[in-house]
């Protein structure tokens, strides 16, 4: 044990957990404070009275009573975004290239995982499974999803990106868009030919749909805190992966090589690093994370179709830019902030604008943030300067 601990870099295991805690709690607290102040301010205006007339509840207590659920949902989706964003940011760090097809890698992960579960269901092992076995099956599905997505990411890199490594910047980007489109329709084709339908629903099994609920009284308002087991699984799985990734990058030899390649590819190759292998590994790691995120997303939202990758992909990219592209801690922070912002917007926009704009604008919220970030802080929250000298 002692021998083992000596090789284990404990600091690199503790540090990311601390970061994640700080980021989640910090951004959740800041956003909650803002929304509560906003609610207090608007309580006495037309917005507040409109709500009182409609639901007979004051704006402030409405906001407060919904807040815990919103924060939990936001964090759940935020961690999924973070896991996808890391795939973008790692590839960007190494190749300075936006891997547009990453959203489809995510979708493939979701499909492989869900198909594995559906297959297990047809075998009949899912319905009567004990809680322990349910988790074992879910882990198996996640593992297979990760392997499929990782393998696909490496293959795509070999076939479509490697021949274009020295081409002008827009050439690989265009190829990546092509790969993204191709994969979307390939998923549709394969699903259509084998199952005859391409909207798949994840089977229900285990205790994933249970909710752990609690009650809390805060002044006049009763707070109902409910967290579904699904959300806990998503968050825990994402945290585990992120810790593992952080360990891989910051405390192993391979990770050192990845960092070296992303700093300076040519010098790294002079130091005896096999650059092609490192790039493959980078895609593999990004793909593994993306694939797992895909199944977690499917678990959370239950229904998937071949185009599910598009919006999470774009949002995760936004998260990566928000945090500072190329920066892994930044991607984590960006994902959490974006997930929270989006869920806050989705839940409160309708009430705060008196129904004029509602959660249907949730999906474009990310773009507005992206544009704002690019205007005011193009290097992102934690990144290096990316602006071209002008």
């Amino acid at each position: 044990m002692k021998q083992f601990l000596r090789y284990l870099n404990v600091k690199e295991l503790v540090r990311p957990i601390g970061q994640m805690l700080a980021f989640s709690l910090g951004s959740a607290a800041v956003m909650s404070a803002i929304i509560l102040v906003l609610a207090l301010v608007l309580d006495k205006t037309a917005v507040g009275t409109a709500l009182v007339n409609k639901l007979n509840v004051s704006l402030f207590s409405y906001t407060l009573s919904n807040l815990p659920q919103v924060v939990i949902d936001g964090l759940t989706i935020g961690f999924v975004y973070a896991a996808i964003a890391l795939g973008y940011t790692m590839v960007y760090g190494v190749l300075q290239f936006i891997n547009f097809a990453h959203s489809e890698i995510f979708a493939v992960g979701a499909f492989v995982g869900v198909e594995v579960l559906i297959f297990l269901q047809t075998l009949g092992v899912l319905s009567g499974a004990s809680v322990f076995m349910a988790y074992a099956y879910l882990s198996l599905a996640i593992l297979l999803a990760m392997l499929a997505a990782g393998g696909l990411a490496v293959t795509v890199e070999k076939i479509a990106y490697r021949p274009l490594r020295n081409a002008p910047r827009l050439v690989p980007l265009t190829a990546a868009i092509g790969v993204s489109f191709l994969l979307q329709d390939l998923i549709r084709l394969v699903e259509g030919l084998t199952t005859g339908q391409f909207n798949r629903i994840i089977p229900t099994f285990g205790n994933f749909d249970d909710r752990i609920t609690g009650k809390m009284t805060l002044g006049a308002t009763k707070l109902f805190i409910g967290i579904s087991v699904k959300s806990i699984i998503v968050i825990v799985a994402a945290v585990l992966m992120l810790v593992a990734l952080n360990y891989l990058v910051n405390a192993t030899k391979v990770g050192k090589a990845i960092r070296a390649v992303s700093q300076d590819m040519r010098t790294a190759s002079l130091m005896g690093i096999n650059v092609n292998r490192i790039i493959s590994i980078t895609f593999l790691v990004g793909g593994l994370l993306g694939g797992a995120a895909g199944l977690l997303y499917a678990l959370k939202f239950t229904r998937i179709d071949p185009f599910i990758g598009f919006f999470p992909g774009i949002k995760a990219f936004t998260a990566a830019v928000l945090g500072g592209i190329g920066n892994m801690t930044g991607a984590l922070l960006g994902g959490i902030i974006l997930g929270l912002l989006e869920t806050f917007a989705g839940s409160y926009l309708g009430v705060f604008t008196m129904g004029a704009a509602g959660s249907e604008y949730k999906d474009i919220f990310a773009f507005s943030i992206l544009i704002l970030v690019l205007i005011f802080r193009p290097q992102g929250l934690m990144g290096k300067n990316v602006g071209q000298k002008a």
Binding site: A160, T174, G178, I364, F367, L370, V386
Partner: protein, 446 residues
């Protein structure tokens, strides 16, 4: 090496009267085939490819222009009216050719990847859709609840005014969008334009409340068209009804008119592009594309130049949007999704970034693939499904083929494949842009 030797053989052949003979033969044969077999896709391909021989074979420029005008102004409308499906294909080709040429200014000349190009198209389309329909009086009604007979806000002929208005509005939109991102690397611009495309689509989908601006997912209809004078139809009929075999109806005449409009836009774009390309601005664009830092060192205001390219590209898309709204008399947000943007981009890339003939070829090839080949393939598969045929070796009955396999619905696969294959094997496109030498001597620039 095969390519060069083919080129040499082609050049050797392509001399003297050969060009004239081939062009004439091709045009006549194509026209005859389409005329005599109005249902055949193959005949249409032979016909439309005559534009290719017109481009590739050597002949006097005046001769080429004459034949081209004959094709565009007489033969295509006549054949199109004879078989409305062809006119639709040709109209789509010209719409997409115009859009691709507009995008080509942005992507090809300045090297800015715009993934949300149809957003500007949508801006133009919704502009005319709002002012050229009854939508102004529907503002306070939820979609589907408006009273039946509302007046139109503007007369149909305001269409011509709005062609101009759309150019200006779209250009302003382009500048507003471009301002925040022009200082950044190209791939950021790609993502932001993609996002903008989605924003416009989502807005179009959802701005039916609080006030009903866009009528939501149901789209706006009817949209007015400019009036068509009676005498135009009469004239066309008196000239061509003998050849066509029946009298032309007003609706078909409108299709011909919009085809001509699209053609005019194409000519305008080509003219503008060529003039700009030869000007200071065009050279500045090329410089920005090739090396931004060097361009700055030369004293080129790159942000202004990029914005200009962005605005010019956007304005053409806005123009085509007005045209689309009027020609279809109906628009809905789904006409402006991300796939359309990528489709137009694929056309530019397939044909050849920066190359005018290439881009037109790309638009034609992809539109024909999309409308004729994929759909033809779908119909063929359907026929096979209904037959008792069996694939011999693997003993697979066509009847059992999944109905999901419908090639007409797999456009993304096609676009994706084209993008990847072109990028890996021929990034300069089918007809690469000619890199002209800009030497000191004036003669060589020609």
């Amino acid at each position: 090496m095969a390519a060069t030797s083919f080129k040499e053989v082609f050049d050797k052949l392509n001399q003297g009267v050969v060009g004239y003979v081939v062009i004439l033969l091709h045009v006549v044969a194509g026209s005859y085939l389409v005329y005599s077999q109005p249902r055949s896709n193959l005949a249409f391909l032979v016909f439309i490819s005559s534009l290719l021989s017109l481009y590739f074979f050597r002949a006097d420029n005046r001769f080429k222009i004459l034949v081209g005008m004959l094709l565009a102004l007489v033969i295509i409308p006549v054949i199109g009216v004879r078989n409305i499906f062809y006119l639709e294909v040709i109209f789509q080709i010209s719409v997409f050719a115009a859009l691709s040429l507009g995008l080509n200014i942005v992507v090809g000349f300045t090297g800015l990847l715009n993934l949300g190009y149809v957003a500007f198209y949508a801006v133009g389309a919704y502009l005319w859709a709002f002012f050229g329909s009854q939508q102004f009086y529907v503002l306070n009604y939820a979609p589907g609840t408006q009273p039946p007979d509302l007046p139109f806000l503007l007369p149909g002929d305001a269409f011509y005014l709005f062609l101009l208005v759309a150019v200006i509005i779209a250009a302003i939109t382009g500048i507003l969008l471009g301002l925040p991102v022009m200082r950044l690397k190209g791939d950021y611009l790609a993502i932001v334009t993609l996002g903008f495309g989605e924003v416009i689509r989502v807005l179009a989908n959802n701005l039916d409340k609080p006030i009903n601006l866009t009528n939501g997912p149901q789209g706006i209809t009817p949209i007015q068209r400019p009036t068509m004078p009676e005498w135009v139809v009469d004239l066309f009929n008196s000239l061509f009804s003998g050849v066509i075999g029946h009298d032309v109806k007003l609706a078909d005449m409108y299709n011909v008119m919009f085809y001509f409009f699209a053609l005019l836009v194409i000519i305008a774009i080509i003219f503008v592009t060529k003039r700009l390309d030869d000007s200071k601005i065009g050279r500045a664009w090329t410089a920005v594309r090739e090396d931004e830092i060097a361009a700055v060192a030369q004293g080129i205001p790159i942000v202004r130049m990029k914005l200009l390219a962005f605005a010019v590209g956007a304005s053409f898309a806005g123009l085509m949007g007005v045209l689309l709204a009027a020609s279809r008399t109906f628009i809905s947000p789904e006409s402006f999704n991300f796939m359309q943007s990528i489709g137009v981009l694929s056309m530019v890339i397939l044909g050849g970034i920066g190359s005018i003939p290439g881009v037109i070829l790309g638009a034609a090839v992809l539109t024909i693939l999309n409308l004729q080949v994929l759909q033809g393939f779908s119909l063929y598969l359907n026929d096979l499904r209904q037959s008792d045929a069996v694939i011999p070796v693997i003993n697979f009955a066509w009847k059992d083929l999944s109905t999901q396999l419908d090639p007409a619905k797999y456009q993304k696969l096609l676009f994706g494949l084209i993008l990847i294959i072109m990028m890996i094997f021929r990034p300069e496109g089918l007809i690469p842009a000619k890199r002209r030498k800009r030497d000191v001597s004036v003669d060589e620039t020609k």
